[in-house]
Amino acid sequence: MASKYIDVVVAGIRTLTPRIREYLLAAADGRPLPRYEPGAHVALHMVSDTRGPIVRHYSLIGGLAGEDDPRHVYRIAVQREDRARGSAFIHDTFEPGTRLRISPPVNDFPLDRRDASTLLIAGGIGVTPIVSMTRSLARRGCRYSVVYAGRNAAFMAYRDTLARLAGDRVRFHHSDEEGVLDLRGLLASQPEDTRAYVCGPAPMIAAARQAGADLGWEPDRVRSELFAAGPASDETAFEVELRRSGKLVQVGPDASILDALRLADVPVLWDCARGECGLCPLPVVSADGPIDHRDRYLSEEERAAGHTLCICVSRLRGTRLVLDA
C-alpha cells in the first residue's frame, strides 16, 4: 500500500511555556483525518530553504478536556531544543496558514486495554502521549494514576489539562524543589497488576526500566516510547551518489537518506523507517568516512564490513557516500 502524505495547514498556535508551543494542524481539504489511538504520533515533513528537508515526529494529543478535537484537526506540541534545528524551524516559521505535509498516524506506544491497572509517567515534553492516554483511561473508567515530572509548574505544558482529566489521580513532581523523581519508589508502590508507560527524556526511560528490573518486574511491564528515528543533535550534512542512476542527492542534517531519496523521487524499498524491517538497506560502493549504523536489523558482522546500511536511520560521518542504486 502506498504511503500517502496528508496536506495540512497550521490552524492555531498557543504558547504553553517559554519553550513549548502547541500547534493545531487542520486537513487542507477540511475532511476528517485518520483516527488514531493514544500513543500515536505523526511525522511532519518540512523543507527549509537553507537546510533542505526536515522530518520530525510528534505525538498526537487529542482534545484538551474530555472533548474530542474536530475530526479534521490534529494537536501537537513542540518544544524548542537549544541545538535542534527541526523544532527551531517550526517555532521560527510556523504561523497560521502555513502549509506542510504529514504522514498518517503510527502507533508504536499503544495502551494495552487488558491492563487491570495503569501507571503513566511523563517527563517534560514527554507529557504529550500521556495526555492522550489519560483521557482514554479516564473516559473508560479504568484504574490508573499519572505522575508528571518537570522542573516547575511554569515549565510543564498541559499541567492544567491533566489536572482536569485525572483529578486526584495525577501527581505533579517539581524537580527544582524535589530533585529527581524516585522511580524505584514509585514502581515499588504499585499493585501487582500495574503496567507502566513512560515517556520522557532518555535517562528517565532508562531509570524506569532499571527500576522495574531491580524490582523483578517482567520487562514488558514497563513500556516506553522509542523514537529511534529521531536524529541526534550533532548531525552533519553529506551527499549521496547513486551509482546506477547517476543521481546526486544532498542529505541535510535534519532528514534521513531515505527522506532525501524519496524527495528526489528515487524509487527505494522501505517500510518501518525505524531500522527494524530490513527492507531499505542499500549496497555501499564507497564512503569517505565511517558509517554510523543506527538500525536494529543488521548483524554486527554486516555493520563491521560496511558493505550496506539501513538508509532510514543510519548516516555517514563524512561527506560523500556512493550507493549501488
Binding site: 500500500m1 502506498a2 504511503s3 500517502k4 475532511r31 476528517p32 485518520p34 483516527r35 488514531y36 489511538e37 493514544p38 500515536a40 487529542g62 474536530p70 475530526r71 479534521h72 498518517p104 498516524p105 503510527v106 502507533n107 508504536d108 499503544p110 494495552d112 486495554r113 487488558r114 483521557r135 482514554s136 473516559r139 473508560r140 473508567g141 522509542l226 527505494v268 524499498l269 522501505w270 517500510d271 518501518c272 523507517a273 525505524r274 527494524e276 524491517c277 530490513g278 536494529r296 536489523y297 548483524s299
Partner: protein
C-alpha cells in the same frame, strides 16, 4: 511502498449528511456503540471469524477464559488470522507464523532477527455479559463498559429465556423500524402475536437522548397466544402494557406486562415478558441477529419453553423474510420511491432521525 501504519481502519465515505435527515440502508453505520459479537458459547478456544460493520474480526478466548477480538487480517500479507492457530494465548498467522498477543502486539516474526516494534494487529474492546459478548468497533477511547446496555434478565435465575439466531440480508435501520412498529403484527404475524385491537390501541412515544421509547396499553382484552399459552390466560380478558425501546443501534428491548385482575388468589397478578433483540450490522445490507424471549413465570415448564420458542422463531422468520424482500426491492428497483408515512410510523421516524444524527456526529458533521 509503505503501508499506512495503523491508523484505525476507516472506510472514508463521501456520504453527504444533511440537516433533518433520516437513516436508511445507505447511511454510514454507527460505530461508537457496543454491539453483540456473539453468544458466550460461540466464543471458545476454537478460532472463528465474523464480520462486524464491514470489518472481519477473529474471535477467541484466552486460556483464562477472557474473550479476545482482533482484526482478522494479518498486517503483513492480509492472511485471515482465524485460519491460523492458537498457541496458548498467542495467535499465530497461518501464512508466515507471525505471532500476536491478545492485545494485538506482535510478539514474534519468525523470519526476522528481532520483533518488529511497530507491528501490531488492531484489537477491539470486547466484554462478556453472559450469555452475550459485546464488541466495540468504533473509537476505543470511548469504549466505556458502563455504556453496555442492561440485559441482566438473560442471566437472572428469576427469569427463563428461550432464544435463537438469524443471519439476515437486511439493514439494521429497517430492523429497528420493524421492531418499533407494532401495527404490522396482525398482518405479518397473524395468530400468535398480533390482535387487531392491539394494532389500533393508542401509543405514546417519547425520546430520551438517542433512545426512543413507546408505551402501549390495552385493557380488558384477551392476550395473543404468545402470552396466553405460557401463562394459561388464553381467552381471559387481561390488561396488557408494553414498553418497546430503541435502546441503542445494536439493541431493541421490549418489556410486556400482562395483568390478570381476576386471578384465583383474589388479587391482581402480573406476568412479565422481556423480549431482547440484539443485532449487529455485518454490512450495510446484512445483520447478525440474536433474539431472546424471557418470562418470569412458569420457569420450569418445558412446554412453555417449546411453545415460546416455536411462536417467536416463526414470527421472527416472518420479519426476516419481509425485511429481506424489502431491501431487495429498495436496492434493485430502478425507479426510486419516497415511502409514505402514517401516524403509527412516528416511533420509527424518530429512531431513524436519531440514528442519522449519531452517524453524522461520528463523521464530524455538526448541524
Amino acid at each position: 511502498m509503505n503501508r499506512i501504519a495503523d491508523p484505525i481502519p476507516e472506510l472514508r465515505t463521501d456520504f453527504h449528511f444533511e440537516p433533518g435527515g433520516f437513516a436508511d440502508h445507505a447511511t454510514p453505520l454507527v460505530r461508537n456503540c457496543w454491539y453483540v459479537a456473539g453468544l458466550s458459547s460461540e466464543i471458545t478456544r476454537e478460532l472463528r471469524s465474523r464480520r462486524f460493520l464491514g470489518v472481519d474480526v477473529a474471535l477467541y478466548r484466552t486460556q483464562a477464559g477472557e474473550p479476545v477480538a482482533v482484526r482478522n487480517r494479518c498486517p503483513h500479507r492480509s492472511f485471515p488470522l482465524a485460519k491460523g492457530r492458537l498457541e496458548g494465548d498467542v495467535l499465530m498467522c497461518g501464512y508466515h507464523g507471525m505471532q500476536f498477543d491478545p492485545s494485538g502486539r506482535c510478539v514474534k516474526m519468525p523470519s526476522m532477527p528481532l520483533v518488529p516494534t511497530n507491528a501490531q494487529v488492531r484489537s477491539y474492546p470486547i466484554v462478556e455479559r453472559a450469555p452475550l459478548v459485546w464488541i466495540w468497533m468504533g473509537d476505543p477511547d470511548h469504549a466505556d463498559q458502563a455504556l453496555i446496555p442492561d440485559t441482566s434478565w438473560l442471566a437472572s435465575p428469576d427469569w427463563k429465556s428461550v432464544g435463537g439466531t438469524f443471519h439476515m440480508k437486511a439493514d439494521y435501520v429497517s430492523m429497528h423500524e420493524n421492531l418499533l412498529d407494532q401495527t404490522h403484527f396482525p398482518f405479518l404475524h397473524p395468530g400468535a402475536i398480533g390482535t387487531p385491537e392491539y394494532a389500533r390501541s393508542k401509543l405514546d412515544v417519547r425520546q430520551e437522548g438517542d433512545v426512543v421509547i413507546i408505551d402501549r396499553a390495552l385493557k380488558n382484552s384477551p392476550p395473543p397466544d404468545v402470552y396466553g399459552v405460557p401463562t394459561g390466560l388464553t381467552g381471559k380478558p387481561v390488561d396488557r402494557y408494553s414498553e418497546a425501546r430503541f435502546a441503542s443501534p445494536g439493541l431493541h428491548v421490549a418489556f410486556a406486562r400482562i395483568v390478570d385482575n381476576h386471578d384465583p388468589a383474589g388479587k391482581p397478578r402480573t406476568y412479565r415478558f422481556n423480549i431482547t433483540h440484539a443485532f449487529t450490522p455485518e454490512t450495510n445490507g446484512s445483520i447478525h441477529y440474536w433474539w431472546f424471549n424471557s418470562r418470569d413465570s412458569n420457569l420450569q415448564d418445558p412446554a412453555a419453553d417449546a411453545y415460546l420458542y416455536e411462536a417467536s422463531a416463526k414470527a421472527y422468520l416472518e420479519d426476516v423474510d419481509a425485511l429481506e424482500w424489502i431491501l431487495d426491492v429498495v436496492t434493485h428497483d430502478a425507479e426510486p420511491q419516497f415511502d409514505l408515512n402514517f401516524a403509527p410510523d412516528k416511533p420509527g421516524l424518530l429512531m431513524r432521525r436519531a440514528l442519522y444524527d449519531m452517524a453524522a456526529r461520528e463523521a464530524g458533521v455538526r448541524f
